[in-house]
Amino acid sequence: MRTHHLLCVCVVAALLAGCTNDRGSPTVAATTGKAPAGTGGSHAGDFGPPQGEPVHAVLTSPPNVPPPTNRKAPAKVIVDLEVIEVDKEIAEGVQYTFWTFGGTVPGSFIRVRQGDTVEFHLKNHPDSKMPHNIDLHGVTGPGGGAASSFTAPGHQTQFTFKALNQGLYVYHCATAPVGMHVANGMYGLILIEPPEGLTPVDHEFYVMQGDFYTVGKYREKGHAVFDMQKAIDENATYVLFNGAESSLTGPKALKASVNQKVRMYVGNGGPNLISNFHVIGEIFDKVQYEGGTHAQENVQTTLIPAGGAATVEFHTEVPGNYVLVDHAIFRAFNKGALAILEVGGDARTDIYSGKQVDETYLSDKVASTEAVSIAAQANAAGTLTKEQQIAAGAALFKGTCSTCHQDAGQGIANVFPPLAKSDFLMADMKRAVGIVLNGLTRPITVNGANYDSIMPPMSQLTDDEIANILTYVANSWGNSGAVVTKKQVTEARATTKRPEGAAH
């Protein structure tokens, strides 16, 4: 029963002027009697006192959304939200202590109707270490409820507000240090339906992005702890949908069918990063930026600010997996900002054919890799023949060597030396192994002609592959030589220094 204290230093005579409120003053339109444009905002959102018995709000965990209120009159709605600090996986094998509204990140979804009077009960679990509070962006009043809901561990507080503005609003904890409370997952969405409700759809989903900062690296196993400096530097370790890497993938992917209307309530808790929300392979038919009233149509990627939300709608036509990403794309592939929407149903090849042609295109340098795998297996079994080596070597040569040395090993005059009937090559096969592994950057004379090109190291090839290529080369186009064995290559690799990871 902590009351709102009017704190005053007695030297301040302006005490009675009261606190200013940046949201409370009436608009000019209202005072001049003009009809407000659009929905009329908060000034038109008071539909009088609540009617009927109080209603307990249905709260849902992400990605679920409570059913429409289907109310035609303002009600008193009781919201019971519990703050729980929980250890959960942020990525596979990585635990993190999340601070949550309702046990999940994002917190429970709250759905009320414009004009409702919301009696908000915030309960802080006795096991909590921290005090917490809640600032709902859908509240009209100083702090959005933050000071009124400041709650010690093992205690509960209550405050009441009237939902004057329709829209989709972020809520979050605003206890010091605010950034850390938000970075630990303390945010969620409250939907304030327009009085007439929203148009029916087949699926509603709740997706919320957040950035996370840990002392350990991305996916570093163990218990990850919050890294204050990374958070201040806005250097996120993870960028996630719904608080974990696997929260909306694999068996937990969102599911819909073709020919359905999908509505996603997409929030961004931040604390720092703006989301570039995109669904790969879909175009949003409609986006209500900031969860507001005016919709944009045919949107590819929509910005969702930290502390903001958007309602996106689209219609499914083609079955398959649709990937939700933050299109600041390293966040998707290196920090976890990936989710999947699985759309089931019959193919619609008239809209999207699927792959119709997939041929290798290598400037006709196509080679079967079958011989390569036969040789590799034979070598492993100890039954490798010279013929198998030559067959495998021929296939590998086509993909790797023929670009410069040409298909028949003839080379290109004065640029790339010939391998066919090559005195330089055949004089020292051990040297040849070294050149493949390390490249060659000095002038050489081959069959009487001088060459001064650069051959890059081919150390990305396995010892097997190099042995097979050289065996092929040493026994083709008029060359007649011995077998080069894998063992020879292995020894050469072990005894020479060479640059690793050479270019193909």
């Binding site: 009017l6 230093v9 005490l15 200013t20 400041f150 850390m180 400096q229």
Partner: protein
């Protein structure tokens, strides 16, 4: 009454000046702290049980509700005994009234916020380590772990430069001027010029916004009333330099 407790000693802290996270007033950054003494470790359940044996009005079954909420010492085995596993752990689920009474019975008091903050600024090697990023992150790590699970025994931590242990990484700690934090429940109002002008300069502007560990202490202390008890709030006592 088995198990041997690590006994606390009052460590002398020299007088000094420092910049607090809570400046005393606008434009004044430095705070003076007179020399004082403070417990080297938090008060344990065993310590508190000894107190209760002498002052039975502080038993959980006798304490008036005005002094403690319903969870006061709820984790103890009985109204007078914490039980073997809890004995050497810091006492928690303790109200400000009970903590004050314990210290008074010892001829001591709770430390003031400035005293606590002054001592808590020390690392193992420096009396003011607050600019040491690595140390700051290390003490912050405690706040990144869950409040569930058993507490460690008192006195296991490494002593800081003053010889004080477990001031970080164990429990929240009550302070004497609990009612003097004057920090708004909505941290973001700090330093709002309108608030300063029209609502009085009641709310204090927090400084050192990067000092997360200390900011959290203040948030926690300002979220509780004097009768509140929580699973992670304990205390240690302090005294003026000269024995009273």
């Amino acid at each position: 009454m088995s198990g041997h407790a690590v006994h606390s000693v009052l460590v002398s802290i020299p007088a000094g000046r420092f910049e607090s996270v809570l400046p005393p007033a606008a434009g004044i950054k430095e705070v003076s702290v007179a020399s004082f003494r403070i417990d080297s470790i938090p008060v344990s359940n065993a310590d508190f049980a000894n107190f209760i044996h002498r002052s039975a009005q502080w038993r959980r079954d006798r304490i008036p509700r005005v002094f403690a909420d319903t969870q006061y010492l709820r984790h103890w085995e009985s109204a007078t005994e914490p039980g073997a596993t809890l004995r050497n752990q810091p006492v928690t689920r303790i109200s400000w009234f009970a903590a004050s009474a314990y210290c008074e019975a010892r001829g001591a008091r709770l430390p003031t916020w400035y005293e606590w903050e002054y001592v808590a600024a020390a690392s193992e090697t420096q009396t003011d380590a607050r600019k040491d990023d690595a140390w700051r992150q290390r003490i912050l790590d405690w706040y990144s772990t869950s409040g569930r699970g058993p507490l460690p025994d008192v006195g296991q931590g490494v002593a800081n430069a003053y010889g004080v242990r477990d001031i970080h990484g164990m429990v929240w700690e009550w302070i004497e001027d609990q009612a003097g934090m004057l920090v708004s429940g909505d941290n973001r109002q700090q330093g709002d010029p309108d608030t300063m002008r029209f609502c009085g300069s009641g709310a204090i502007t927090m400084e050192q916004k990067e000092n997360y560990a200390t900011l959290m202490r203040i948030a926690m202390l300002s979220s509780v009333q004097a009768s509140y008890t929580t699973a992670t709030m304990g205390f240690r006592c302090a005294a003026d330099r000269v024995t009273r």
